[in-house]
C-alpha cells in the first residue's frame, strides 16, 4: 500500500512559473511525539537522524522550524506530505 501522489490542476500550475523560493515550516504541537516528527522528517526528506532530530528539537523548543525550501510546487507537495502525516505544516515566502 502506498499513498497516492496528487496531480496538480494545470490552471494552478500556470500561475506559478516563478523561481521564487518557498519555505516549508513545521510548527510545534502538543500531541505529536518528538520521535514521530523526527521519523517523518527523515523519511520524507531523507535527512540524517541527527539533522531530523535537530530540526524536531528546534520545532519543540522555539515553536517552529523551516524544514525545507524550494519552488512553490515542490513546497506544496512537501506540505501535503507533512499534512498526510498529521504534522502542523505551513508555507511562507
Amino acid at each position: 500500500m502506498t499513498a497516492t501522489t496528487p496531480v496538480r490542476d494545470p490552471e494552478i500550475d500556470d500561475q506559478d512559473l516563478t523561481d521564487e523560493t518557498w519555505k516549508v515550516v513545521v510548527w510545534n504541537d502538543p500531541v505529536n511525539l518528538i520521535d514521530y516528527v523526527a521519523y517523518v522528517l527523515r523519511k520524507l526528506f531523507g535527512y540524517s537522524e541527527q539533522k531530523a532530530m535537530e530540526l524536531t528539537m528546534r520545532v519543540h523548543t522555539t515553536g517552529r522550524a523551516i524544514v525545507r525550501d524550494g519552488p512553490r510546487e515542490q513546497a506544496e507537495m512537501d506540505c501535503y506530505r507533512l499534512h498526510h502525516h498529521g504534522l502542523w505544516a505551513t508555507l511562507e515566502r
Binding site: 500500500m1 502506498t2 499513498a3 497516492t4 501522489t5 496528487p6 496538480r8 490542476d9 494552478i12 502538543p30 500531541v31 505529536n32 511525539l33 520521535d35 514521530y36 521519523y39 523519511k43 537522524e49 506544496e76 506540505c79 501535503y80 499534512h83 498526510h84 502525516h85 498529521g86 502542523w88 505544516a89 505551513t90 508555507l91 511562507e92
Partner: protein, 151 residues
C-alpha cells in the same frame, strides 16, 4: 517477540493481544466521524491550513489536496484494519504498510487529543486519567513501531 512489533528483514512482524485488537479496531470508525458534526475540533486539527495569510492560495491548495488526502487517509485506515485483524495470530507488514499503521496511530492521537480539548503543551501535561492513558498507549505503540522501522 517481546513487544508488538519486530523487524525481520525488510518486514515488520506485528502481534497484538485480543484486548488490544478490540480497542485498535475501533480507531478507523472513530476517524470516520471527524467533521461529521460542525465545530468538531478534530476536523480543524487534521486540516490545518498551508497558507496562513492568503485565503485564495489556501483555497487552491485545499481544492488540490482534498480528494487526495481523503483517499490517502482511507488507504491508511484500510491497511491498518487488515493488519490489526491479522495481528492476533501474528502477521507481517511491508514498510509502507507499517508506515500507514503509524500514520493512523498519529491521526487517532490528534483526533482524540483535539476532542479532549488539548490545544497547548499545558493542556497535555494537565490531562486527567484515563484520557492521558489512552494517548500514552497509542504513543507507546508509535514509539515501539518507529524503533523497529528504524532498526
Amino acid at each position: 517477540m517481546t513487544g508488538p512489533f519486530r523487524r525481520r528483514g525488510d518486514r515488520i512482524e506485528i502481534r497484538l493481544a485480543e484486548h488490544e485488537i478490540q480497542f485498535l479496531s475501533q480507531l478507523p470508525r472513530l476517524l470516520e466521524t471527524v467533521g461529521a458534526v460542525s465545530g468538531d475540533p478534530a476536523a480543524d486539527r487534521l486540516d490545518v491550513p498551508a497558507y496562513l495569510d492568503d485565503p485564495e492560495a489556501e483555497e487552491e491548495y485545499r481544492r488540490w489536496i482534498r480528494g487526495e488526502l481523503d483517499e490517502a487517509r482511507a488507504a491508511d485506515r484500510s491497511a491498518f484494519v487488515e493488519l490489526v485483524e491479522a495481528a492476533q495470530t501474528g502477521t507481517s507488514a511491508s514498510e509502507p504498510e507499517a508506515e500507514a499503521f503509524l500514520r493512523v496511530l498519529a491521526e487517532a492521537r490528534l483526533v482524540l487529543a483535539a476532542r479532549m480539548g488539548i490545544e497547548v503543551e499545558d493542556d497535555y501535561e494537565g490531562l486527567a486519567e484515563p484520557d492521558a492513558a489512552v494517548l500514552d498507549y497509542l504513543g507507546a505503540l508509535q514509539t515501539l513501531l518507529i524503533r523497529e522501522l528504524s532498526a
